[in-house]
Amino acid sequence: MKRKRTNLTRILTASLIYLELIVVAVIVIYPLIWIVGSSFGSSKGLANASAIPDHATLRNYIDLFRNTDFPVWYMNTLKVAAANMFFGVLLSTLGAYAFSRFKFKGKKASLLSILILQMFPAFLTAIAVYMLFLNFGLLDSLTGLVFVGVAAQLPYNIWLLKGYLDNISTSFDEAALIDGASRTQIFVRIIVPLATPMLTFVAVLQFAAPWMDFILPRLLISSEEKKTVAIGLYSMISDQTKNEFTLFAAGSVLIAIPIAVLYIVLQKYLINGLTAGGDKG
């Protein structure tokens, strides 16, 4: 008798759990299916967009490449993202190496300033950056965008990487030093390989950021041919008169898929990195 009851509760719990899992899964997936479906929709407006379009067509994707500047925006963003990743990783690793492995005057003060800097909302500086770039002729250039993109994340990245390097024993460095390796060799041959998990995290974030960064390009970029995808996509949807919803959907799908794949493949690194960011304050 008793066993039967536990069996019943077990089945009941199991079905409740599965019900919950299915409901949540539907809520999670539906908006994504809806936007993918809309991107194949044959009528351009939002009103007729649906998850399962009546007459599925690739026209939106073709239009996106033929009749809009999407390919240009895409290439711009790709360039910015690549440069952002390269310089972001390079500068923050070098900085973290210096802070983690060397004693020097002003180290404490610099670390404290890094801590304070990373608390500033990037927005506070954006207007000022705009005025400064106006002064130095960096306005409306992708280079300027990279400068700001790298600098804005630098304090956080250095702090994060420094914390990671601090946890790696210095015995490897010391052994190499005895063998006559220079400090630059130690950096390239020992520190960089050991810090790869955290470097991956920084690299992915630095690469992914420009695809979705809105405020900075909106401020710093004005000409059509220098726009990044975030600005381009936003202009498609914010202009109610344009009625380009399905184009926006197609563009979104093309951006979201590579980023999502990247995030899912590297999710272990990313979650660990974010966790470390919290632990280190």
């Binding site: 908006p31 060397f102 404490k108 927005f123 630098l154 992914a208 979705m212 999710q267």
Partner: protein, 457 residues
């Protein structure tokens, strides 16, 4: 012995020499190369000033505005913010001062001057130190030896310098600039180049606290920002926790499949998701509104984010959409922590006759909470400044006529954006930035003081 004694120059004299002429003290110490280097740095500073100024044309005496070079004119500009506005003539704008450009140049000049000041003090101290060493031991390193030693000890500085320069000019400089703007009247009614900006002291801060509409907006937005940040953090954390525990249970099969589905909102860029939701909940054309109408559940279209008579609807919906966006991260995180909880705890509890609820609240929750608590504060801070969700989803709407340039779902950060970019009230925006920073910094500091890395500092 006495001969040597008379030859001794006191250390302060070498320092004084270097104070008068860069590198002179080093030359006295017979460290010629080092002296030359210091001299060149000092001469460089003067050369910049002379070359960029107009020192040949001083008929009317020295005037900062007309004759000053990079440093002197820069400092003059920073103090006065210009004296001659440009006016619209028949042939275009006349020549004059642009207050904001002057301010930016002034800050840069000040920064570089401080850098030179650092070298100047180093130059004096070095001369005095080397001299006293010479007096005591009668020995001195050659310049070359010292420079080599310096190079070794400078390795950290050298590899730090690119990061430091970038941070200085693109983070620190703008922050100083932004803070200074809060003390000026730089706004749409007073835009350069045809008008001059002035220092107004604490006037803008007084306006925020004393003018009712500003105070009203500020307190309203601040309160909602706190409510938003707290609720957004709690909902994502607990729902993520809940999903992680469910997935961890032995009943559930195909765990990997479920997890891959739930991680999607985290992997898709948040801006795209927010814009998709904005379209889905579009009052006029959106599918949700249409669906409810078709099913006969509502008699008219619902204007989710724009209906001023139903502000809580927009707020609750924004929180729910934020939950959609935010729970996967905590789910993945807590899922990872759950696997580290030793099974032996549960076995022991089961032997003592504990039920599932007790096991959760007495074992699972405390362990996971302890491991994830620092992230809660981090999540609170990032929700406090969650520009993306609010701006792309609601644009701050529904509009609130009682507020100054803010809607009912506006957070401090989106209000700040509207103040500066849409309404060009740069000075008020700067005041708000300072307030946002103070709030965020105080919360971050609470978190930080508990962390290990801070103690090491």
């Amino acid at each position: 012995m006495t001969a040597l004694h008379t030859k001794q120059t006191p250390a302060w004299a070498a320092g004084l020499l270097s104070a008068i002429v860069w590198g002179a003290g080093q030359t006295l110490n017979r460290q010629y190369l080092k002296g030359l280097l210091f001299f060149l740095i000092g001469a460089g500073a003067f050369a910049i000033e002379i070359a960029t100024g107009r020192y040949t044309d001083m008929a009317g005496g020295f005037r900062f505005r007309e004759n000053g070079g990079f440093f002197l004119k820069g400092l003059w500009g920073l103090f006065t913010l210009g004296t001659q506005p440009r006016t619209m003539g028949l042939t275009g704008l006349t020549a004059g001062d642009h207050s904001i450009v002057l301010m930016a140049n002034g800050i840069i000049a000040l920064f570089i001057l401080l850098l030179f000041l650092f070298f100047y003090i180093w130059n004096i101290r070095d001369a005095a130190k080397a001299r006293s060493q010479l007096n005591e031991t009668g020995m001195l390193h050659s310049s070359l030896q010292e420079i080599k030693k310096l190079w070794e000890s400078m390795y950290a500085y050298i590899i730090l310098s690119p990061a430091a320069l970038l941070t200085l000019f693109i983070c620190v400089l703008p922050i100083v600039f932004g803070v200074l703007i809060a003390f000026t009247d730089y706004s749409r009614s007073n835009l350069p180049p045809t008008k001059l900006v002035h220092w107004v002291g604490l006037n803008n801060f007084v306006t925020v606290t004393e003018v009712f509409s500003w105070m009203h907006t500020f307190l309203g937005v601040l309160l909602w920002t706190f409510v938003w940040a707290i609720l957004a953090t709690i909902t994502t954390y607990f729902f993520g926790f809940f999903q992680a525990v469910l997935l961890n249970s032995s009943i559930v099969r195909f765990k990997k499949l479920w997890r891959s589905i739930y991680i999607l909102p985290w992997a898709v860029p948040a801006m795209i998701s927010a814009l998709v939701f904005k379209s889905m909940f579009n009052g006029q054309f959106g599918p949700i509104s249409q669906f409810l109408l078709d099913m006969g559940l509502t008699s008219e279209r619902i204007y989710w984010f724009t209906d001023p008579s139903n502000t809580n609807l927009a707020r609750i919906l924004a929180l729910l959409i934020n939950l959609w966006l935010g729970f996967p991260y905590f789910m993945a995180l807590i899922g990872g922590t759950l696997t580290t909880v030793s099974e032996s705890y549960y076995e022991a509890a089961r032997m003592d006759g504990a039920n599932a609820g007790q096991m959760f609240w007495k074992i699972t929750f405390p362990i996971v909470y302890k491991a994830t608590a620092p992230l809660l504060m981090l999540s609170f801070v990032s929700n406090f400044n969650n520009f993306g969700v609010i701006y792309f989803l609601t644009e701050g709407g529904p509009a609130n006529p009682d507020y100054n340039f803010a809607g009912n779902t506006d957070l401090l950060i989106t209000w700040l954006y509207k103040l500066t970019l849409d309404n060009r009230l740069y000075n008020m925006g700067a005041v708000m930035s300072i307030i946002v920073f103070l709030i965020v910094a105080s919360f971050s500091l609470i978190n930080l003081r508990k962390s290990k890395s801070f103690e090491e500092l």
